[in-house]
């Protein structure tokens, strides 16, 4: 679906634990419908009525989208833009550009291990939801990590969908104590031992993605990373969001070539 730019209004702003918010918007069905057909990992650029001082829109993954033009995002306050969004009240207007980028495709033969951390949850949450809706919740398994139990949000739906989920927290307040990559490592070992075909889909903080990449490459399983880079436009024009890659050209672009990249392609030392 080609992107477009359209207006939307906030319907619901829900404060969650850990400083997270889910924002649900409504827009014209004709404008919003393309969002419901996205691949998880595709994103939108969002800008409120912020005047001139905060010039550029902000990138957010789509958490969920319906054919009637309603869609939602998960945010955490990072700076001024996310603070302004967190304070948005029902009826508040935003301008949306999207859908943008390339996302994850649905599970095929290999079981997809979905590794999520922080605001990297939405693409994998939506991937899990889609698998469940297709009657294949067992085709995905979630590995969800945070600092503590409050840092893990929107977990009930995962249970409702019957998606097997492994939690990890740094303080041990929910699930395994430690990083989510520890649980992933064990799962990859088990798959290797049984000869099960798996692939890894990950989105989250960069240190987590680096660890997942190293692990995926070491186990020689297909590993897809959903990356975040600072971007001004989101549709391949400003060239700000370069990602170093292997191959004849040293850079690709997070917004137009990604944000999902194969771990083998990403050139991280």
């Amino acid at each position: 679906m080609p992107p477009s730019q359209f207006g939307a209004q906030l319907v619901d702003n829900q404060a969650l634990s850990g400083g997270y918010f889910t924002l649900r918007f409504a827009c014209d069905a004709a404008c919003g419908a393309p969002l419901s057909g996205i691949e998880p990992g595709q994103f939108i650029m969002v800008r409120g009525e912020w005047g001139r001082e905060m010039l550029n829109p902000r990138a957010f993954s789509v958490l969920d989208a319906q054919a009637d033009g309603s869609f939602s995002i998960l945010i955490k306050i990072y700076g001024r833009g996310t603070a302004a969004l967190s304070a948005l009240r029902p009826g508040g207007a935003v301008t949306i550009t999207g859908p943008l980028g390339r996302g994850f495709s649905a599970p095929a033969d290999a079981t997809q291990l979905l590794v999520a951390g922080g605001v990297g949850l939405p693409p994998l949450h939506l991937q899990a939801k889609r698998a469940a809706a297709a009657g294949r919740p067992e085709a995905v398994e979630m590995f969800y990590g945070g600092r503590n139990a409050d840092d893990l949000v929107l977990t009930e739906p995962l249970d409702d969908w019957g998606v097997k989920t492994t939690y990890a927290t740094e303080d041990g307040s929910r699930g395994h104590q430690g990083f989510v990559t520890g649980a992933l490592e064990a799962r990859l070992e088990a798959a290797k031992a049984s000869g099960e075909a798996v692939e890894v889909l990950a989105c989250g903080p960069t240190p987590m993605l680096r660890a997942v990449r190293t692990m995926g490459l070491a186990h020689d399983v297909r590993t897809l990373l959903c990356l975040e880079e600072e971007m001004a436009c989101g549709f391949g024009v400003c060239l700000g969001c370069a990602v170093p890659v292997r191959g004849p050209k040293p850079y690709k672009y997070c917004c137009s070539d990604g944000p999902v990249f194969d771990a083998r392609e990403v050139r991280w030392s």
Partner: protein, 333 residues
């Protein structure tokens, strides 16, 4: 305080937005700026690109360039700093792969170009001349390349050097050359004059202002190259001043104005300062069809102010009425 110029509002339909720039007739003043419109295709999703008066492409060099390390951009108050590094597909690929789309648009196609040294500028102008009958209307020569080889900075800041470079490029191509000026020069009108006397048909300005952002947590600059180029509304007052200075000193030099244009009123300010066509840059990132909205707002505003055509107001800025000389008086108490 000077009183507003008294005019009666007119109908928006009675506003004639046509303008001429260095012999080019344009349906209205609004173009898009180099590096902020790529090679155009991406914008077709969001707007009817052929409604623009013209566009300037990403800066083209003789060979492809890969660009700078990360981070390359950061947002600042009312603007952004970029250090993209003039990444581009190179002249050959531009002509073969990008130009055909632009040629079909029926807008004024300005190809922004540069070289890593003087010979490369000339080579690039020669290579792009092959596009003269394939859709290129103007070569916009970017003489403000902060991040190219030693000596590059002089192209944009030393009038004699700019004169020599412009002359060589003008002689190397049949296409008209517009020289894009950097605000990082001590005497911008002198730069404009040097370019014009060397055969450029006009000037465009401003390019970005050398700037810096600092991340206090990491104690690192916010773009990897330490300094980058500031653009957006933050630079508009500086851009207006420079357009006005050139127009005042050299009223014959055609000026394409830019720097932070976001609204019809911004556009009108630039026209009044002395520009006869305009480019919109950074605004395209948050709003791809920004230049067309600006065009519509310009029409509405001109109608409100009773301005029926562009030539009427280009460079129309007068001085404030002189203050009477006040004789000192005894204190009130």
């Amino acid at each position: 305080m000077s009183a507003p110029v008294r005019t009666n509002p007119i109908s928006p339909d009675a506003v004639d937005l046509t303008t001429t720039f260095a012999g080019l007739s344009l349906p209205h003043p609004m173009m898009t700026a180099s590096g902020c419109f790529a090679y155009g295709q991406q914008f077709a999703h969001f707007m009817d690109v052929s409604q623009l008066a013209g566009l300037s492409t990403k800066g083209i060099s003789p060979a492809p360039r890969m660009g700078n390390p990360l981070p390359r951009i950061c947002e600042t108050a009312s603007g952004m700093i970029n250090s993209i590094g003039l990444e581009n597909v190179g002249a050959e690929a531009f002509l073969a792969e990008k130009l055909p789309y632009l040629a079909d648009l029926d807008v004024s196609v300005w190809v922004n170009f540069f070289g890593e040294d003087a010979d490369a500028y000339v080579r690039c102008a020669e290579m792009l001349s092959a596009g003269a009958d394939r859709g290129i209307d103007v070569l916009e020569m970017n003489i403000s390349c902060p991040n190219i080889k030693k000596g590059g900075i002089e192209f944009g800041t030393v009038p004699e050097v700019a004169h020599r470079l412009t002359k060589r490029c003008v002689e190397a191509t049949s296409l008209p050359i517009v020289v894009k000026l950097t605000p990082n020069a001590a005497d911008v009108p002198a730069m404009a004059q040097a370019a014009y006397e060397a055969g450029a048909v006009g000037v465009s300005l401003i390019n970005t202002i050398t700037a810096m952002g600092i991340d206090v947590r990491t104690r690192k600059p916010r773009v990897a190259t330490m300094y980058g180029g500031l653009s957006g509304p933050a630079v508009k007052p500086v851009a207006l001043r420079m357009v006005h200075q050139i127009h005042t000193k050299h009223p014959d030099i055609p000026i394409c104005g830019m720097g932070g244009i976001l609204s019809g009123e911004d556009a009108l300010e630039f026209l009044m300062a002395g520009a006869s066509c305009l480019q919109v840059g950074t605004a395209n990132f948050s709003e791809p069809p920004a230049a067309l909205r600006v065009r519509d707002e310009l029409r509405t505003l001109m109608a409100e102010l009773g301005i029926s055509n562009i030539p009427e107001i280009v460079g129309c800025i007068g001085r404030h009425d002189p203050e009477p000389t006040y004789a000192p008086e005894a204190s009130w108490t």
